[in-house]
Amino acid sequence: MTSSNSTDGNVRVGVYVCHCGSNIAGVVNVFEVAKWAQENLVEQGVVVAKENKFMCSSLGQKLIEEDIQKENLDRVVVAACSPHLHETTFRGAVSRAGLNPYLCEMASIREQVSWVTSDQTAATEKAKAMVAGAVARVRQHVPLESIRVPINSSTLVVGGGIAGIQASLEIANSGFHVYLLEREPSIGGHMAQFDKTFPTLDCAACILTPRMSEAGMHSNIELLTWSEVENVEGYLGNYTVTVRKKARYVDTSLCTGCGICQQKCPKNVIDDQFEVGLGYRKAIYTPFEQAVPRFPVLDKDNCIFFEKGTCRACEKFCAPGAIKLEDQDEIITLNVGNVILATGYDMFDARRIPRYGYGKLANVFTSLEFERMCNAAGPTNGAIVLRDGRTPAKSVGIIHCVGSRDHKFNAYCSAICCMQSLKFAHLVKERTGADVYNFYIDMRTAAKDYDEFYQKVLEEGTNLIRGKVAEVIDGGLFDEKAGQLIIQVEDTLIGKQRRIPVDMVILAIGLEPKQDAANVAHQFGISRGANGWFTEKHPKLDPVATMTDGIFIAGCAAGPKDIPASVSQGSAAAARVVSYIQQKELSLEPVRAYIDAEQCSGCRICNGLCPFHAISFDELKMVSEVHQALCQGCGTCVAACPAGAVTGSGFTNQQVLAQIEGLLSVPIHADVLQAVAA
């Protein structure tokens, strides 16, 4: 019993081998490969085999189109780069010539052969094998038609940071409805906490708050603050999202946002959220003056009334009687066509690096704490002082890469810390004239006007020491430098260990994925990379889309970014969504699974396997069925079906098995490789 019997023997295949300039031709003998295919794959149905300098060029594509006409080919194989780069290109060419685009197959002889193989002969042999595999596979291809689904025109944006706000405004301005969901009482995100923004040094609040209020008042934007996503169902164009609106204990329809309740509330609470533990707030509060919406929330855990049952100060003084102490969480359901996740980031917990003394040494601060300290509206009204709240710092050490670029914590570069640290250096200089030491591994100032800013900071006489700080020690222990902190570091540019006394240390802590990113990813059915950030559909060519149709990502949710980058991603995601909405109806990749009811025995083995709940069981017919729009095409059910009743179009058993046979049909030449080894 053999497998390759699905299509008739007389298919006509055209093989096209790309030089990619010298990228492929430099290592693989493309002429030999083409010739070999022409001669040896005849019984496989190969009628033409050609090589060309650049297959992806218009000329290369033309070549294919003409051959399809002339030689009336019904299958095409392009041996070139990775399909992830040019599959669409060549499918386009094929369909322009009137063939079904899915009758084209690529062999990645650049990424998988020429670029990774040193020996030419070995590379050429492997290239032949891959062509043989592709030909064998394409013989089994069948025309596929994509599936069409309608698109609901409203959109859910999760996360009210600058990226989320930007995305919402873009979509709203193009006339479509947006739900902007935020976990905190106000939108604004981390940017609202910052003081100045590099490199232009304009104050964060001044540029952010107008956007916030615009979003707050926009007729197409519905704000859902103090809310969290409970559950997500559906697929591109038709998502159903369940949202929990947490009890605010304030009736937003009555509240005027006058703030009297906050004045009168007797309970002082350390503000771990907005003031990152450096300042105080009341039990009923808006996180900051310009909060949007301006309605406060009541923090149940700290409220005297919820502790003791008495107080009600807020209630007494609230003129419109907006305080609603019996308020309850509310569950609402949204129907949206697309989702943009702009869920942002968490800051690295500096306590994980005890040798830097954060939490033990009073005058070690984190960058976010320092942002608040510098902020005129912050706990010190912008004064740069030691933990005691009055003594100004005379010398400040700023440590870069805290928790970043370190395999024990986060191996990646947090991208913003260099500029942020330089900004701090400038602010300290500007406001206190204190000595500033920046300890860096590499100075990364690669964006418009960033290096100019670096120059400026150099000019101000900041001490830049190239070296990763080893430890921060309390000078009082020895060295008679009581109260001072000693930064021990190797100054790698002079190759000596230095021990530098300072009054204040700022740790430029890195960015990390939200601690609940895993849940979010699971809820929305998207994946995360090794470091926990959401994965883009393509890191370069499709940075705001995800692998799941209709779910987009923007800002730091996909990795560390500065404000300009986050904003442009917000806009980009919005643009993608709007283009979907305007198409009203969308076609999905036809790589889907379907079940042959005749063969299905209803054993229900596949039923539990689908993470997208695309497989259902028909109790009457006693067979399982796949919901085409829900199916994402992973093929797990195909592989798992004991009866072989499930077919995964685009990756059928026949296709894969044929490709395996083809790949292995070209033997490996020991002598060739022996030569390589020698």
């Binding site: 040798r355 670029r405 370190d406 395999h407 024990k408 591994i441 590499d442 190239r466 070296g467 990763k468 700080v469 080893a470 430890e471 021990q488 570091v489 190797e490 100054d491 790698t492 190759g495 000596k496 260990q497």
Partner: protein, 205 residues
């Protein structure tokens, strides 16, 4: 300076070095895999200086560890083997646990010591002498012998404060913390056989 490694002190003032292509990195790495167990990861050094910053003996070093690695990769083995750095390593392992690239720095220091020693770069080097004396007792008795080691070592390299050291020694002795003669293990010949065979199996360095 193409390699980015600083010009070693003794070269200062001389004419600029003749053009020399650095050695194949692969070969260098292979070599260090050979002299250090596991994967030493030396190729991952980003020259951040966590090692030099953490080193308790930093003040004495002519090259900090990361600089040694740069020299190695630049093919300046002469400077590396003459360097005192490995010999001042007291195996505190701070550099190793703090290295953001998880390079086995301390292990590499051992490797460099053996290399320098076996290639005869360590004439009248205090640390080498101490190690040799120590090793001598192990090979002769199978155990170390503090009194003997101290005596022999100080004979060659008298301590800066002889009186103090002597006082401490006697105190130790009277508190029964120093034995007069070494302990010898029973399986001594066996141990010597093993060590002998091991020396044959030593990677040619």
């Amino acid at each position: 300076m193409a390699s980015g490694s600083p010009v070693p002190q003794e070269k200062v003032g001389k004419a600029s070095p003749p053009p020399r292509t650095p050695p194949s990195q692969a070969a260098v790495l292979e070599f260090f895999r050979a002299i250090s167990p596991g994967l030493p990861q030396i190729e991952f050094c980003i020259q951040c200086g966590s090692c030099g910053g953490s080193c308790p003996a930093a003040a004495l070093l002519d090259h900090t560890p990361r600089r040694l690695f740069a020299l190695i990769r630049a093919g300046e083995m002469e400077d590396v083997l003459q360097s005192n750095t490995p010999w001042y390593c007291v195996s505190c392992y701070f550099c190793m646990v703090r290295c953001p690239q998880e390079i086995h720095i301390t292990d590499l220091m051992y490797g460099l010591k053996t290399l320098a020693y076996q290639r005869g770069y360590t004439k009248n080097n205090k640390a080498t002498h101490l190690s040799k004396v120590f090793a001598g007792y192990i090979e002769r008795y199978g155990r170390s012998f503090e009194l003997g080691i101290a005596a022999r070592h100080y004979l060659r390299h008298p301590p800066s404060n002889l009186v103090g050291t002597a006082k401490m020694g006697s105190a130790m002795f009277f508190k029964g913390r120093l034995h007069l003669r070494p302990e010898r293990i029973n399986g001594l010949t066996q141990l010597q056989k093993i060590l002998e065979r091991a020396r044959e199996l030593e990677t040619a360095l």
